[in-house]
């Protein structure tokens, strides 16, 4: 009897260890409820679409997503979710993070947990310095802010700019990036307007009125995409700022694909700098967008958040294959540094020095087609941008 129990236990233990070699548990930390819920859905769909389209690349392993709710941009709830994923769900890899404060708050837990953590959105530049286990597949604010500052001065010929930003870490980062490049190229930032927090969409009228009174050549706006974006473009149109000769520019958050059609004519002529939008003209992206519409409906569209989840999952699958399904935090980081792919956003790789992404930045303009639909036209491409914040060693990045 005793022998049989022992044998059964041993068999169980073996089958359990076999199962863990086959199945990789990915803990997902996203705001499934609250103001970030639609962002969480986009990243989720990006991850799931990659797994569906690339089932043969995952074999013989399987990837199980375990989702926990980060709730809000405040940090605390996300930190708790990270902790629970590590200690209760025993995940092999962490992924997600829409909001920078959440990734910042989770950093010590990630470091202590010694598991690879893939950031799929949160863009404050220095986040990847906060834990040696962070790898980013989205962007740093400097990827858009810095090239935009140069382009505003050189290509758009702007002499003066007003910057309006949502008052939380990535907003301040974006402001710093734009200002450094714009003033380095001979322009002058004449006013900086903090426009409320990320937790709720404010009425932008007073802030935009202030910007309009300053009469700048360009008004550079950073907001955390989503409903903020729709409100920004609406207010810009309603206050007659275009007629006053002020160009609205920003990172692609102000022209998020999912919100673009609802913005109407007020969006025509907006100029953005970003690493992805659904209208990018390359074969990989055409396939991706078509697969997305087939899977989630013709009226839906992927956007820069979806691509963060999609490429993030591509990275995770690469690591799982490299490590043959046995995930160890340090080995996973080493494997991540060798990752290169041809993504819908263009060439994509992980910088081995910073664990941050290297990718193209596209300067685009919103145009209206004959069918009345809005789309984004690429004006110029800056190839293989490494996070300028770290390249230039700007504190706290350098």
């Amino acid at each position: 009897m005793m022998k049989r129990i022992l044998a059964a236990t041993a068999a169980l233990a073996i089958s359990a260890s076999l199962a863990s070699a086959q199945e990789v548990k990915v803990g997902v930390n996203l705001p499934y409820t609250g103001i970030g819920a639609e962002f969480a859905q986009l990243i989720d769909r990006g991850m799931e679409l990659y797994l569906k389209l690339n089932a043969d690349k995952v074999k013989p392993y399987s990837i199980k997503l375990i989702k926990r709710d980060a709730k809000n941009p405040a940090g605390n709830d996300s930190r708790v979710a990270t902790q629970e994923l590590l200690t209760q769900d025993n995940v092999d890899i962490l992924a997600g993070w829409v909001y920078s404060p959440n990734a910042i708050a989770s950093a010590p837990v990630v470091t202590a947990g010694k598991k690879l953590a893939v950031i799929m959105n949160a863009g404050t530049a220095h986040i990847t310095n906060m834990s040696p286990y962070y790898v980013r597949t989205s962007f740093s604010m400097w990827h858009s802010g810095y090239p935009m500052g140069e382009a505003a001065a050189k290509q758009l010929g702007a002499k003066t700019a007003v910057v309006g930003y949502t008052d939380f870490p990535p907003g301040k980062d974006e402001l710093a990036a734009f200002k450094r490049a714009f003033e380095g190229s001979g322009g002058k930032v004449i006013d900086e307007i903090p426009m409320g927090g990320a937790g709720a969409v404010p009425d932008f009228t007073p802030f935009f009125q202030r910007a309009k009174d300053k009469k700048p050549d360009v008004f550079f706006v950073f907001i955390p995409a989503g409903d903020h974006a729709a409100a920004v473009v609406k207010t810009y149109g309603a206050l007659g700022m275009r007629e006053a000769g002020i160009k609205l520019i920003g990172p692609g958050d102000i022209t998020q694909d999912t919100k673009l059609q609802a913005m109407g004519d007020a969006a025509v002529g907006l100029i953005t700098m970003h690493h992805y939008h659904a209208d990018l003209d390359n074969a990989e992206n055409k396939r991706f967008v078509a697969a997305w519409k087939k899977e989630y409906g013709a009226n839906t569209t992927p956007d820069f958040m979806a691509i963060g989840g999609y490429d993030g999952m591509a990275l995770i699958v690469h690591i799982v294959q490299q490590l043959k399904g046995k995930i160890d935090g340090d080995k996973a980081i080493a494997a991540a540094k060798t990752f290169k792919s041809n993504s819908p956003r263009g060439p994509f790789s992980i910088d081995p020095e910073t664990r941050d992404i290297v990718m193209n930045a596209y300067l685009s303009e919103v145009v209206k087609g004959k069918d009345g639909k809005l789309s984004q036209k690429v004006l110029s491409t800056t190839p293989n941008v490494k996070d300028p914040c770290k390249a230039l060693k700007v504190p706290p990045c350098g």
């Binding site: 709720a200 969409v201 609406k234």
Partner: protein, 291 residues
């Protein structure tokens, strides 16, 4: 900072328009609080429900903006009367904590229900072309919709004031606010009065939810996001006073606009600080009667 006429006019117009939205939403909250002594934290949820009905009926049924506002008012009022008869009326004699717990719970139910059935995303309001763009007022060009809101707000406050002060029903409400037991003993049907007033207040909130969607947006978090502002308006204006709510809305709307424009670093801090100071000075609000 240079103050030009254009500068000042745009500030006043922007602030007053924001204040009008606050007024339209908050007036129902103030009356139910004054009349029934009931703290209805689900008021923002009724505003949200109305906003959704208005925006979605425009989008999916092709109804015009004005008819959609009417539909939103009527449907929200009807729904809220059902809630009042079935749920709220059981708690009129309960303690304040029970009322607060019940109504905040109801707000969460609304949030979850809209997230499940409609989705977490914002529902943009599509204004008719006549209300978009800019209007030339002679001294200043300003967004047409803000001016429309100001006209609507003024019309509503005049109509409400006349209804409150000059009609038999208004007199009954005022009597019940002043002394409920005396009003009851004079033969006023308090139950009926409560239900109608509650429905009317929720209908007004629905109008505010729809009219304000252009500025405040409309998503499932709406129910709690702006609740603090609605409560501040009622606290500053004094519960149960229409003129009080109107003045408080204008003061808060304009102050908030001006402070955000010139001191954006402070955010909403000033409004909260000013509210605290005012309530220390006059706990019953600007126009409320001391209890």
């Amino acid at each position: 900072m240079i103050f030009t006429i254009e500068n000042i006019a745009s500030m006043v117009l922007g602030g007053v328009a924001a204040g009008m939205v606050l007024f339209i939403v908050s007036v129902g909250l103030s009356v139910t609080m004054g009349l029934m002594g009931f703290v209805n934290l689900a008021h923002g949820a009724f505003a949200m429900l109305g906003g959704y009905i208005i925006v979605l009926s425009m989008r999916h049924l092709g109804v015009g903006f004005i008819p959609a506002l009417a539909i939103g008012f009527v449907m929200t009022a009807a729904v809220s009367i059902v809630f009042e008869r079935v749920l709220y009326s059981r708690l009129y004699k309960a303690g304040e904590l029970d009322q607060v717990l019940f109504t905040i719970g109801l707000a969460f139910v609304f949030i979850a229900a809209l997230t499940v059935f409609i989705g977490p995303e914002n529902q943009p309001l599509t204004l008719p072309p006549e209300l978009r763009g800019q209007l030339d007022l002679g001294i200043v060009q300003y967004r047409t919709y803000s001016i429309f809101l100001i006209i609507v707000g003024v019309a509503i406050v005049i109509a409400l004031w006349l209804g409150f002060e000059r009609t038999r029903f208004g007199a009954q409400i005022r009597a019940a606010v002043d002394n409920r037991r005396m009003a009851e003993s004079l033969g006023i049907n308090i139950d009926r009065l409560f239900a109608i007033t509650f429905g009317f207040g929720s209908g007004m909130a629905a109008l505010g939810g729809g009219l304000g969607a252009e500025f405040l947006g409309l998503d499932p978090q709406y129910a709690l996001k702006y609740l603090v502002f609605f409560l501040i308006v009622v606290a500053v204006g004094g519960a149960g006073s229409i003129v009080g709510v109107f003045c408080a809305s204008l003061i808060i709307g304009v102050l908030d606009f001006v402070l955000k424009k010139y001191l954006p670093q402070g955010g909403t801090l000033f409004i909260y600080a000013l509210t605290i100071l005012l309530l220390l000075w006059r706990p019953q609000g600007l126009f409320g009667k001391p209890s």
